[in-house]
């Protein structure tokens, strides 16, 4: 589904990604871990199409297409979804209002009929249950005054509504208490499907107890320095990232 080959990218003229290689197949859940500043979030934003992140070399093939040539909205319509680490607050726009417009843009692209207000409301009712979110929140201005947990639930809600093929979760666990973490992870797990891939970016192993990945990759200094199965997370938990840093330094 997704092939990242030798991806290099700069942010404000500083090279952050220094040759990422990653293959993600349909139905798989991958976790990307790594210390702060290793390039995890940059990778997520490059995949989502952030404009001021400059790709200097490499390629990303998504479902046989050149992903890097697409606009952010084209990627979304093709089924890529990024759950933000810091969801943006937009006063004056409710979740319901913008999400209906977004869903219909996506459905139009996919050759599906647009949903009318009633159909959309029914869908929202179903999906808000999934993330145990208060109906009142979705009619309030987007993320304005939301708690950390409410913002993350709203991200997973949007993901559930937009029905992506490839979901990128950028530090969705940050700032969550255990209850919120359980709900958010439950929402993500409900979306696991054999034709959908999920990439979970996290700093901590904790989330991976709830969302159990098929593969784990450790990012350090802009490269994948170690890949493995879920047991790798436990090693990282007990030894910390310093273990990898010294190991990587020895290899280089």
């Amino acid at each position: 589904m997704l092939d990242i080959k030798n991806l290099h990218a700069k942010v404000s003229n500083q090279e952050i990604l220094r040759g990422i290689n990653l293959h993600v197949g349909a139905g798989e859940v991958h976790a990307i871990m790594g210390p702060n500043g290793s390039g995890k979030s940059t990778l997520a934003h490059v995949l989502a199409g952030r404009e001021n992140y400059e790709v200097t070399s490499g390629e990303v093939i998504y479902q046989g297409k050149d992903l890097l040539a697409m606009s952010p909205e084209a990627r979304a319509r093709e089924g890529i979804f990024l759950a933000f680490q810091y969801p943006v607050e937009i006063p004056g726009v409710s979740t319901t209002y913008f999400l209906k417009a977004a869903l219909n843009a996506v459905r139009k692209h996919r050759g599906l009929e647009e949903l009318d207000a009633m159909e959309f409301l029914a869908l929202m009712k179903e999906k808000t249950k999934l993330v145990e979110m208060d109906q009142v929140l979705i009619n309030r201005p987007l993320n304005e005054g939301f708690s950390g947990g409410e913002k993350k639930r709203n991200e997973v809600l949007q993901m559930a509504v937009l029905d992506p093929t490839l979901a990128l979760l950028d530090e969705t666990d940050s700032g969550l208490d255990i209850d919120a973490l359980r709900v958010v992870a439950g929402g993500v797990n409900a979306l696991r499907r054999k034709d959908r891939a999920i990439i979970v970016i996290t700093h901590y192993q904790r989330l991976l107890e709830y969302i159990v990945p098929d593969f784990i990759h450790v990012l350090y200094n802009g490269r994948v320095v170690k890949s493995g199965t879920k047991e790798l997370a436990l090693q990282l938990e007990s030894k910390g990232y310093d273990w990898l840093k010294s190991e990587t330094a020895a290899v280089q």
Partner: protein
């Protein structure tokens, strides 16, 4: 044309029609007009040297000549006028075409006893005593050139009187439609609103241009709010692409009176809005709520002045501008707290969104505080659409244009939400959605 020549034109026009005017009208009115023209002669058109006109050139007005339109233009469609001006078909309304009352488009049924909603020209003919007592009393025509000009040429307009303790629940609409013809027309509509103690009223002035020709509309509203009166006043402007508009609201509020004055400017070539509110009684309160949308080469200037003249009065002001194309916006917000106005509470906010690199805005707060126990704050911002918010919306599948339109709409939403007349707010909402969605 030089400004002096232009000024002469108005003086000549005034003198030429003097004999016909004085033959037909009451003497007090002719005296008021004479005072108006004398003041205009002394003041002339304002220049950049005038602090209140620093960012706006009146040359488009002063360099052209305009004539008074003779009567209402025929073959106008009532439905078009009403829908363009955001007015419901069943509403209570007075409609004016080029400043002249058009009874065929107006409707004043079902008003509570004692409420008067009438054409000024008609009331002048009836020679009401109270008209002479109030007309010209609140306007600062001795100091403001356009108020002076309006006063000199006062002919028609609207008079609204709501008696004490009367609650006028349905909004009253005043529609001023300009139709430019072969000659460039001007109108000087005059509106007098008198609200008795503890009365309530919602009044909407809606200005529209029905074609793309050049015209000049110089409207002046005098509003007197009695003790504890509750007033919502709206000025909605949708002048034509070449329309020139100067609109002035002069409001005086007595003790405990609460005025919410909305100013919404959606089009017009040159638009200047003057709002002057005197909080002339203890505990009087005003909320000024403004939205201005610029595009193409439009110039929109909002000048507001709030005077806290008595203690414990409050003012809350929020003006927001969205400027696209090569448009130019101005916000000049003056707050004066007089010596005796202790415990005044004044808050002013102006926010501007620039949608294009060629759009510009000047924003200038001015506080003059002569009392020592007051709360005053002001803040202004000029910015562009938030890049993070744009990216966020695009990652959900919304196209760049749609994301921009949603964010522009969102920027205006708090001002729109303060509009309390449901049908008006809905029409404005629909208008904004369509306007921001344009390619």
């Amino acid at each position: 044309m030089l400004a002096t020549e232009s000024k002469e034109q108005y003086l000549t026009a005034f003198n030429q029609s003097r004999s016909t005017r004085s033959a037909s009208g009451p003497s007090w009115l002719e005296e008021l007009r004479e005072a108006g023209i004398a003041s205009f002669e002394a003041l002339g058109f304002p220049s950049h040297k005038n602090e209140a006109w620093k960012f706006t050139s009146v040359e488009p007005i002063s360099s052209q000549s305009f004539v008074h339109a003779n009567g209402a233009a025929r073959s106008l469609d009532a439905n078009e006028i009403l829908s363009r001006s955001f007015v419901d078909a069943e509403s209570c309304r007075l409609v004016f075409i080029n400043g002249v009352y058009a009874p065929e488009f107006s409707r004043t049924q079902d008003l509570p006893a004692g409420v008067r909603v009438q054409s000024l020209a008609k009331m002048v003919r009836q020679n009401d005593d109270f008209l002479s007592a109030h007309l010209g009393r609140y306007a600062r025509y001795q100091h403001e050139a356009f108020a002076a000009l309006n006063t000199a040429f006062v002919e028609d307009g609207a008079v609204i009187v709501v008696p004490e303790r009367c609650r006028l629940t349905q909004p009253v609409y005043l529609v001023f439609a300009s139709v430019a013809g072969e000659r460039q027309v001007m109108s000087h509509p005059r509106i007098l609103i008198l609200l008795g103690a503890a009365s309530e009223a919602k009044i909407v002035e809606s200005y529209i241009g029905l074609n793309s020709g050049t015209y000049f509309c110089n409207a002046l509203t005098e509003l007197m709010g009695g003790r504890d009166a509750l007033i919502e006043h709206y000025r909605l402007q949708q002048e034509g692409d070449a329309g020139l508009h100067v609109g002035t609201l002069e409001a005086e509020l007595e003790r405990g009176c609460q005025l919410t004055a909305h100013g919404v400017t959606l089009s017009g070539s040159l638009v200047r809005n003057n709002v002057h509110v005197v909080l002339d009684g203890e505990g009087a309160a005003c909320v000024l709520n403004g939205l201005y949308l610029g595009d193409k080469r439009q110039h929109i200037d909002n000048y507001t002045e709030i005077e806290h003249a008595k203690p414990r009065a409050s003012s809350l002001e929020l003006y927001k501008g969205i400027l696209d194309g090569s448009s130019h916006g101005v916000f000049n917000g003056k707050i004066i707290v007089h010596k005796d106005a202790q415990k005044s509470d004044a808050r002013q906010t102006n926010k501007n969104l620039l949608l294009s690199a060629n759009a510009a805005v000047n924003t200038k707060p001015q506080l003059e505080i002569y009392a020592d126990d007051v709360k005053c704050s002001h803040g202004s911002t000029i910015g562009q659409l938030d890049a993070d918010a744009l990216f966020y919306l695009r990652t959900r599948g919304l196209g760049l244009e749609e994301a921009r339109s949603i964010l522009s709409f969102a920027f205006a939403s708090d001002v729109v939400a303060r509009i309390k007349i449901d049908s008006l707010r809905q029409r404005l909402d629909d208008y904004l959605v369509a306007r921001f969605r344009k390619p």
